[in-house]
């Protein structure tokens, strides 16, 4: 096992909400009891639909949102110090890259300034010449021409803007990047360029990535390990190949069949993600699961270990894994094996 660079334990986020006419108080659980590790230089992919808690998890790991309970350790040190503040040394180690390069870059700053701003504010580098030198290096690294430094974001295409955002993120030499849907706003051909660039930077600088995406194929391309989230919980988590090739949760299988081009692989799914304000009883996925049984509505399955390092929160994970004809799970397993 590689040394865990990022270590997340039992992370939970609850928001108090006031609902209805009488101002009834309720609790919205956005993230519930999430634990995972990311090895140094590795990529952990969080995949799930909107409202599954991916972004809230990322914000807690970045320290942008206080966790209700649970802990985050980075490089062996707790993210929060005794005063309940984000450790300044750790904060400098991590940088976010956000989805929309159209809104995440200031339209009033030229690209050179956008990139060197974190260096100036964190006083990592001083002197105009040294800054200009670093900006020029960074432009090179992300594959932008040198004259881009004097341009403004509105003169650039979406892909070029995302390159600027990446250059800005790696400017302070972070060790950990949180990539929140980094390519979903981009066209297919540009997507591939950005994903390759992220991979190159990772191997060059030994960066650790937390990648958030709704697109299973993007996560699969980038990640070493994958966590599949649904309504704030992990349904399945483990090494990429285990989760994707030997899935043992119906939700993973459904996401997989949705990302596949093969029509025969389609698994039926009905309805939409339920409101996190009134999550279903038992297994959170049972209302939409094509294979749900009685027990699923009453008892919430715990994440249980499979043979090869993956964990799955399904009562029938064992049957699915064995491909055993256990009731309806037979159809499920053959559906998955067919791929």
């Amino acid at each position: 096992m590689t040394h865990a660079f990022v270590s997340v334990r039992e992370l939970t986020k609850e928001y108090p909400v006031v609902t209805g006419f009488l101002g009834k108080k309720a609790t919205l659980t956005a993230v519930s009891d999430i634990s995972f590790d990311i090895g140094e230089g590795k990529t952990f992919g969080l995949v799930g639909e909107s409202g599954s808690g991916k972004t809230t998890t990322a914000r807690m790991i970045l320290g942008a949102e206080p966790a209700t309970s649970g802990s985050v350790k980075i490089d062996g040190k707790p993210l929060m110090n005794e005063k309940g503040r984000v450790d300044p040394v750790l904060r400098r180690m991590m940088q976010p890259v956000l989805q929309d390069p159209y809104t995440s870059l200031s339209p009033r700053m030229c690209v050179g300034h956008i990139i060197d701003e974190p260096l100036r504010t964190q006083k990592l580098l001083s002197g105009e010449r040294a800054l200009a030198q670093r900006v020029s290096e960074l432009l090179d690294m992300v594959g932008l021409p040198q004259d881009a430094a004097r341009r403004y974001p509105n003169e650039l295409s979406g892909g070029q803007r995302q390159r600027v955002a990446i250059a800005r993120a790696i400017a302070p030499k972070p060790r950990f990047l949180v990539l929140d849907e980094p390519v979903s706003a981009l066209d297919v051909s540009i997507q591939a360029q950005i994903l390759n660039l992220l991979k190159d930077l990772q191997s060059e600088f030994k960066l650790t990535y937390l990648l958030i995406s709704h697109d299973l194929s993007v996560v699969s391309f980038m990640s070493d390990a994958i966590g599949v989230m649904y309504l704030g919980r992990f349904m399945e988590i483990g090494p990429k190949d285990e989760v994707l090739r030997r899935s043992s949760h119906p939700y993973t299988m459904i996401l997989k069949s949705a990302a596949s081009t093969d029509e025969g692989a389609a698994l039926p799914i009905s309805g939409e993600i339920p409101s996190p304000l009134s999550p279903p009883s038992g297994c959170p996925f049972h209302t939409r699961c094509p294979f749900s049984q009685q027990i699923c509505a009453t008892t919430q399955p715990e994440l249980e270990a499979g043979p090869a390092g993956q964990f799955s929160a399904c009562h029938f994970a064992k049957d699915i894994r064995a491909g055993k004809p256990a009731g309806t799970c037979a159809t499920l397993a053959t559906g998955a094996m067919g791929r």
């Binding site: 639909e49 909107s50 295409s157 979406g158 892909g159 070029q160 066209d187 297919v188 051909s189 540009i190 997507q191 591939a192 360029q193 994903l195 390759n196 991979k199 709704h214 697109d215 299973l216 194929s217 993007v218 699969s220 391309f221 994707l244 459904i254 996401l255 997989k256 949705a258 990302a259 596949s260 081009t261 029509e263 389609a266 799914i269 009905s270 939409e272 993600i273 939409r288 791929r339």
Partner: protein
């Protein structure tokens, strides 16, 4: 038999502060009843402008410069705005990416679907029954109880169902769906497309699906036309085009999509960016990014090369291949 919709050599101009651009340039395709054509391309490739041209809904800065658009044998370009309005209301439907912009937030779902029936002389109860009927067809649960709901009370997927119901109310012969599921979650996406396909099976309507998602094309469409910088570069049945793409752009596009089965360290990619429409290359528009460009490509736009009856490719490479 003539196709349901036949577009020939369509040219659409858009006036912009930097000058007039041809957003759609010499585009031809046809759609048959009961079949779905996918218009695929990246942003700015002219997919949406092609659809708006067919609908007669171009923005004020837009103008059709040349070509023919025939729907059921009638020339749509010769219609008055009034006539086009009637055709849109009854024969050609359209669904947009974001259903929230298509629905009026101030009216109930029931009112908005009922709109389509107002022209017919029906009693209130009859209209109500018809509305419930259409909502049931798009699988909105307990439609009789949802009539009084407002769009904001619905989820994205449910709103898109309402938008489809509004279109279905007038039983269109052609449905143009412009990125209908891009704003939705993957599992909901499939449900909506499955629904559209079932409706198509029942009514035999023709469909144009505008999308950038190649997975969806291979699963839900019969024919595909790949657009690049305002032009179609390759067209034909989905199975043939996707299994053996001929145009370097189509090949690049298919290779650039990550798939679950591959174990590649890097994705194949198309270098560079699409051209800006103000500054198009002289010859083939893909030439600056093309890995196999020939001398001719930079100066002359390629002719169409036909492969069999139903495929065509605009690439000079085909000249040698076919000769």
């Amino acid at each position: 038999m003539s196709p349901l919709l036949n577009v020939e050599n369509l040219v659409t101009w858009i006036a912009s502060p930097k000058g007039v651009i041809s957003a759609v340039d010499d585009v031809s395709f046809s759609v048959d009843s009961g079949r779905t054509l996918a218009l695929v391309g990246e942003s700015g490739s002219g997919k949406s402008m092609t659809c708006l041209s067919v609908m007669g809904l171009l923005p004020e800065s837009g103008k059709i410069g040349a070509g023919r658009i025939e729907f059921k044998g009638e020339n749509l370009l010769a219609k008055t705005p009034r006539e086009m309005e009637r055709i849109r209301g009854s024969q050609i439907g359209m669904i947009l990416q974001d259903p929230m912009t298509a629905l009026n937030p101030l009216f109930t779902i029931g009112d908005q679907v009922a709109e389509a029936f107002r022209r017919e002389k029906l009693s209130k109860a009859e209209i109500r029954d018809r509305v419930i009927d259409v909502l049931r067809k798009v699988r909105i649960p307990a439609p009789d109880k949802r009539l009084g709901a407002y769009p904001h009370q619905f989820s994205g997927g449910m709103r898109q169902r309402v938008a489809i119901a509004i279109n279905l109310a007038s039983s269109p012969r052609l449905l143009i769906a412009d990125e209908p599921t891009t704003a939705l979650d993957v599992t909901v996406q499939l449900q909506i497309l499955e629904l559209l396909r079932q409706i198509q099976g029942d009514t035999g309507m023709g469909m144009i699906l505008v999308t950038h998602d190649l997975h969806l094309v291979s699963r839900f469409c019969d024919d595909v036309a790949i657009m690049y910088a305002g032009r179609i570069v390759e067209a034909g049945p989905v199975s043939k085009v996707f299994n053996a793409p001929e145009h370097p752009y189509t090949q690049g596009l298919l290779d650039a999509v990550p798939t679950l089965d591959q174990d590649a360290e890097r994705l194949a990619l198309i270098p560079g960016n699409p051209p800006t429409m103000h500054n198009l290359p002289g010859g083939c528009r893909f030439e600056p990014r093309c890995p196999v460009s020939l001398g001719q490509c930079a100066s002359e736009y390629p002719e169409w090369y036909r492969l069999g009856q139903d495929r065509r490719v605009a690439c000079w490479q085909m000249k040698q291949r076919i000769a």
